[in-house]
């Protein structure tokens, strides 16, 4: 479904991604794991067009997407739930959800999808008229995910969805992500919370200093000695 081929990405003159290639198959949960600064977020930003690869290409269902305008990606069915949630903090919960369903197809089913999101996160329904900036961290993450779901995505990319959340919420968020996949959306997830991520991921890639150093299934990774010492603290 998604194919990243040999991309190099720069911040100004500094190269941060070196020849990274990976792919995500339909209805998989694929995870990129790695330490802070390994380039995980950079890769997601490159896929969603906020950054451009200096070389290499990004293909979605066989079509190159690294050359089209970033705001058009959502129409193709790709949505990026960004790091630190990036909600529209002065808008209400409901307005944030509306912002997720701007494309014609999603707009037509806006109210239906909203109900589905509210069913997934009942807390959001209670707070639908509240200003997003006044929500708790967990609620904000739910809203960020809900806003992404509103676009009826076929590929959903999560950047550090568990960041700054209490352990019980982390578990809830991961369950939701699993459920999203079970309902047919492909998931690409970037996380520092390696253990939880690997336990729901079908496959994972380990990223170190902007290069992919290892790949395998989630289980293989959990058993791998290098992963264990470097990321699981065992």
């Amino acid at each position: 479904m998604l194919k990243v081929k040999d991309i190099d990405v720069f911040y100004g003159d500094v190269q941060v991604i070196w020849g990274v290639s990976f792919h995500v198959k339909k209805k998989e949960i694929v995870s990129l794991i790695g330490a802070n600064g390994a380039g995980k977020s950079t890769i997601l930003k490159t896929i969603s067009g906020l950054l451009r690869p200096a070389s290499g290409e990004v293909l979605f269902e066989g079509r190159p997407i690294h050359t089209i305008k970033p705001f058009k990606l959502i129409e193709m069915g790709i949505v990026h739930v960004p790091e630190a949630r990036r909600l529209f903090v002065e808008m209400t919960v409901e307005e944030n959800l509306d912002m997720g369903s701007l494309k014609a197809e999603a707009k037509k089913r806006r109210e239906q999808t909203k109900e589905m999101v509210f069913e997934l996160f009942p807390r959001l329904k209670e707070r639908r008229r509240q200003i997003a900036g006044t929500l708790s961290g967990g609620e904000q993450q739910m809203l960020a995910i809900g806003r992404g779901l509103m676009s009826l995505p076929r590929l959903m990319m999560f950047d550090e969805p568990s960041l700054g959340l209490a352990p019980i919420l982390v578990k809830e968020i991961f369950n939701v992500i699993k459920r999203i996949r079970d309902e047919g959306t492909t998931v690409l997830i970037v996380e520092q919370n390696v253990k939880q991520t690997l336990s729901i991921a079908d496959r994972a890639y380990v990223l170190e200093n902007g290069r992919i150093v290892m790949e395998g299934t989630g289980e293989e990774m959990l058993r791998n000695e290098h992963v264990k010492t470097a990321y699981l603290g065992v």
Partner: protein, 309 residues
């Protein structure tokens, strides 16, 4: 206080609110542009001046009432604003290496060109539109025979104010109820997130600049029956809009409305109790006071209240 003093105070407050409504309309345009573009549009008053000349000539040549001109001048200003954004500001935005301040300086230049073009074309004469209702007024005693105080309400001032209110309400509906309006607000709050949600940010910039120009253009038409017109008036109103934007809190629409009203009332009070010529002094005194004591503007109070609940 005797009846006369009460009358003077009430009359002053009414004048202030009427003026403040128009100021708010000017301020909203600037604050919208500020929110989305992150720059102060220092050609704002000059855009208003252009719309005023439009209304003036529509009246002189075709005898079109200034209040009707709102419906002609505002759409024209919308396209004029979009053209400025597209052909003048966008090319500067694309050069990443230069400072954002350069976009502000660009708007100063645009303002100068407009003001001087107007001087060349129309000379620097003061003009006004001789509408027949210019000095009509409603009197409180006509409605309430035994009223203890006598108040008057100028007809053109009140019509202009009503127009300003209607336009502001319409804008509020646009910004809160339509997807385009929400996208404009989203772009102002978090541009990257807006892109990720599929907002065409470049288009929002065009629409916002157009909208800002249309709003200040409408305000210009509303000022025509109650004010005079000359090419250099733009600079004055740019400053007024700037003060309102700061007073309201950069980028906040509600803040701009409140800021406009505060400024209108304050100027009116200074004019009555200190002296006509002191109104601008009052304006800048409140500007400096806002910067010192309330750097976040009215918006910071609103925000605190909302988060506190």
């Amino acid at each position: 206080m005797d009846a006369v003093q009460v009358e003077v105070l009430l009359q002053t407050l009414i004048a202030g609110i009427l003026l403040g409504g128009l100021y708010a309309l000017i301020g909203i345009g600037m604050t919208l542009i500020m929110g989305v573009m992150k720059i102060i549009n220092l050609a704002h008053g000059e855009l208003m001046m252009v719309a005023m000349y439009l209304a003036y000539w529509l009246f002189v040549l075709f005898n079109i009432d200034p209040y009707l001109s709102v419906f002609i001048a505002a759409p024209l200003m919308f396209f004029f604003g979009m053209a400025i954004q597209k052909y003048l500001i966008n090319p500067v935005l694309k050069v990443e290496s230069i400072l954002p301040e350069n976009q502000v300086i660009l708007t100063v230049g645009i303002g100068m060109v407009l003001a001087n073009l107007a001087t060349i074309l129309f000379t620097s004469d003061y003009r006004s539109v001789p509408v027949e209702y210019a000095s009509d007024a409603w009197y409180l005693s006509d409605f309430w025979r035994d009223s203890p105080v006598e108040l008057s309400l100028s007809v053109p001032w009140s019509i202009s104010f009503l127009f300003a209110v209607v336009i502001t309400v319409a804008l509020w509906f646009f910004l809160t109820r339509t997807d385009t309006g929400k996208s404009i607000r989203a772009t102002a709050q978090d541009m990257d997130a807006a892109v990720l949600m599929g907002v065409n940010v470049e288009r929002m910039r065009l629409i916002t600049f157009g909208l800002g120009a249309a709003l200040v253009g409408a305000a210009g038409c509303l000022f025509i029956p109650i004010y005079y017109l000359y090419p250099a008036l733009g600079g004055r109103f740019t400053l007024i809009a700037f003060v309102i934007t700061i007073l309201g809190g950069l980028g906040s629409t509600v803040g701009a409305i409140i800021g406009g009203l505060i400024l209108g009332i304050f100027e009116s009070l200074t004019a009555t109790y200190v002296g006509m010529g002191w109104a601008p002094v009052g304006r800048f005194a409140i500007f400096i006071a806002a910067l010192i004591f309330l750097p976040g503007g009215v918006a910071s109070i609103l925000r605190r209240q909302r988060l506190g609940k």
